[in-house]
Every structure is written in C-alpha cells, then in structure tokens.
Symmetry: C2
Subunit: 256 residues, 2 copies
C-alpha cells in the first residue's frame, strides 16, 4: 500500500516506523516543521516535504497524524480528490473529514506513544471507522497488517475510549509523578515504587479492577486517611484530590 | 529461623507462602478467624491456633501481619518477653511496639497482595527497621532470604511510602475501574484498555513520569477537556476529579 504520513509527532513517528516495518510503501512524509520532518524521513528512509502543495497525489492512503485542529485545516488546504484520507485522533468524529473528502475514515491506534520509546503494534487495539464498507475494508487490511486486535468502533465509542484513556493513562501517569515527588521529598528514589506500579497494572490484566480495590479508602479507615491528609498539608491540591478520590472509592465499593 | 505468623489476610498469606518457599520454619499460625487460619495453615502445612494464649513461646520471630489496630492489641494481650516481634504495616511507627516488647522492629514488604494471586518476593522492596542493630541484622537476614531489594527505612519514610502507594496503587486502580465503567457504558470491554494500561506502567519503569506526561491537560486543550467534562455529566464526582486533576497536571507541567 502506498501511504503518505502527514505529521511528525509521537504517533506519526511510531506509526511510520510500524508501517515501514510491515512492508508498506511510505511514499512521502509531510510536516510543517522541517526539523521534525527530516528526522523522521531519515528514520524511515522516505522523502519529505514541508509544503502541502507539494504533497504526492498518487498515494492509496493519506494518514493524518496531526493535532486535532490541524485535521480539518489540512483537508481545507489540500484537495485529496477521491483519494482515501484517514485521521488518527481519539476525540474527533469521522464527520470532520466529510466536508472536503470523498473517501475517508479513522485509523486510531489506542496507545500512548513517545518518539523515544519503541512499542510493538501487534497488541495495540486499532479502532477503525470509514464512510463506506469498501473503505472500511481498506483500513481493516492495513490495521491487520500491524495488529492482531482490530475493532470497528464508531465515533461516539472512540470518544468514550479517549475519555477513559485520560483516566487510565494520563491521570495514572500524573499519580506516578505525585508518588515520585512524595518519595523524593523523604530522600527515597522512585525505584522503590516500581514493583508496586508494575503489580498494580498486572493485576488489572487479570481481574476486574473494581473487584481488587485495596487501601484505606475501601473501609473508610479514618485514622490512616486523616493522617495522610495531614501529611499532604504542603500540597493542598493533592490533599483535596486525596479526600475526593477516597470518598469516591468508598462510595463505589459500597454500592457494588 | 523459627517463625510464628500472626494474621491470615492477604499479606499474611503471601508472606507465609514466601517464607515457607525460602525454607524457613513456620512453627505456628494465629488468626482469630478459624476459617482463615485453617485455610492458610493447610496451604503452608503448619499448625494453627485461634487462641492467643496458646501461642508458641519458643519462636525466633513473631510477624504481626494484622490490621493496624490489631498490632498494639496483640502486644497488650500476649507477653512476648524478650522474643523478637515485628509488624508489617506501612503506616504504623515502630514505636507502637515499644511499650510491650523488648526486641522489636518492622518488616514491611512494599507491594499489593491478594490471596488469590501469586507474587514473587524477589523484586519486592522490603523495608526494615528495628530497635537495635542486632535486631536489624536479624530482620535484614530474613528479608534478604526473600528479596534482593532490602532497605533500611525509618518510620517517617515508611509512612511517606505508604502515602505514595495510595496514589500509585489504590488511586490508580480506582482509575482503572473508572475506565472500565466508561468503556462498558458504550458496549466495549475493558480489554481494549489493557495494552494502554500496561504501556503506561512500563513507561514509568523507564522514564521519570513527570517527563513523559501526555494528554489534553498538559497543553490545557480546552476543546477536548470541555468536551470530556460534558461527557461526564452523569458522573458528577468523576467530572469534578477530571477538572481538578487536569488543572493539577497543567500546573505541575508548567512549573517544571
């Protein structure tokens, strides 16, 4: 499949590498930023452009791996004609492409990507959606060449996934950062928390998380909770979060 | 080493199994609940009692793996004489043992334990503290027979670890549960989030979490944040949490 990747951020980088690795033909990369474009083009050994007008017109698929606001902009500024266009955004409806594209869809790999961290696409759920069965098949074939977990997910579901991902990834990572700050404050290194972080995640692979909730909040252990709140006196924001989440855990656990 | 384990909960179970597996001599188990005591005694092939007065008086070490409030109670109700006693609680000071014991310490394996899930002690940080260098050596020897990560940690530090663990384990697990509820609400299974959960944890093993924070909050992407808040209208508690944590992420990331 002849593919043009538009974007050179974390997702574009990981996606371009995975596509290349699965034997697809990356015909061109586009990024407004020459530096990012050239770094990624080097990595995947493919020509690049920073000028939208110079976009290759003969590709089978244009993958928009750009910020949400740039998705619509790109389709306004370049006429893709009848060529297939797919965006890769969790929170954008497929409809954002309807105005300027004739064949379009969504290709959303549900994962957190960093430029500097390798990730195997094989286990990543790829959520696809398209404006026709034919286009869906095109995206399905591409997705299945990368991953064994390909799912047809509509825009409302994808949005809900993205919302859930904010909780289980972004917010979770922030709590890792809070944990790191707290142990550092008492002259300990973050390493001491790592086996716990790993096991907590692994447990969620095996059990439904609500059935394995532990900690002082489950039984509303006031002695520990109040002491922890006191210890957070220098971090009023975290103190507030601690109280609210503890209440929410107690309510959730005692509803079930 | 001849050890009596007091308690038959998650930690007592996992600890008794690990001690047995490392060749220690479990001379007796104690639990107030006959059912729990007999199940665990069966597992580790060891006698048990539910009567504190019938506690073996010849052990080298009594490990108190009971709820926080039961630690002091146990030492009030049984005279350990000069025998070594250690509690296993994150939030209790070593001083809780000082009133009734002569040789005492803390043996705190930093992990989340479930009766039904096997866990290798080898990588679990074991935090030790004792009222004398001799007693510290006793605990260190025991800890090193189970784990390659043994650390001398004082009561203030251990309390801070426990507070951190509430964030990186209990609160994180609650957010997994929120994610599960949200995807279920739109007819999707929790499995779709698992690769993301795993990768988020694995990334924290490799990088300092605050340096790899992603998501709409980092750049204060109001369009996505406001949309997510609207989507959480049926979950006002989660809506409030979403707003507060997003603000905290933005503040934290833009301070550094």
């Amino acid at each position: 499949m002849k593919i043009v990747v538009i974007g050179a951020g974390n997702l574009a980088t990981r996606l371009a590498l995975a596509l290349k690795g699965s034997g697809h033909h990356l015909v061109q990369l586009f990024s407004r930023t020459e530096q990012s474009a050239s770094v990624l083009a080097d990595l995947v050994n493919c020509p690049f452009t920073t000028d939208l007008k110079a976009l290759d017109r003969e590709a089978d698929l244009y993958l928009l791996a750009v910020t949400d606001s740039a998705v619509a902009e790109t389709t306004e500024q370049f006429d893709f004609g009848s060529r297939m266009v797919a965006h890769t955004a969790g929170s954008l409806s497929i409809e954002v492409l309807a105005k300027h594209c004739r064949n379009f869809g969504v290709f959303y790999p549900l994962q957190t990507f960093s430029k500097g961290r390798e990730v195997s696409f094989e286990d990543i759920p790829i959520c696809i959606e398209a404006n026709s069965q034919d286009n869906l098949q095109t995206l399905r074939k591409l997705a299945e060449s990368l991953s064994k977990d390909v799912r047809e997910i509509d825009s409302l579901q994808r949005r809900q996934i993205h919302l859930s991902a904010v909780f289980v990834c972004n917010f979770v990572n922030h709590f890792y950062a809070i944990g790191e700050t707290l142990v550092n404050e008492k002259s300990m290194d973050f390493g001491i928390l790592k086996p716990l972080i790993r096991e907590t995640a692994m447990k969620a692979m095996e059990f439904s998380p609500s059935t394995v909730q532990t900690g002082p909040a489950v039984r509303n252990n006031r002695q520990i909770i109040d002491h922890h709140l006191t210890m957070l006196a220098d971090h009023p924001d975290w103190q507030e979060l601690y109280g609210l989440i503890s209440e929410d855990i107690f309510k959730t656990q005692n509803k079930e």
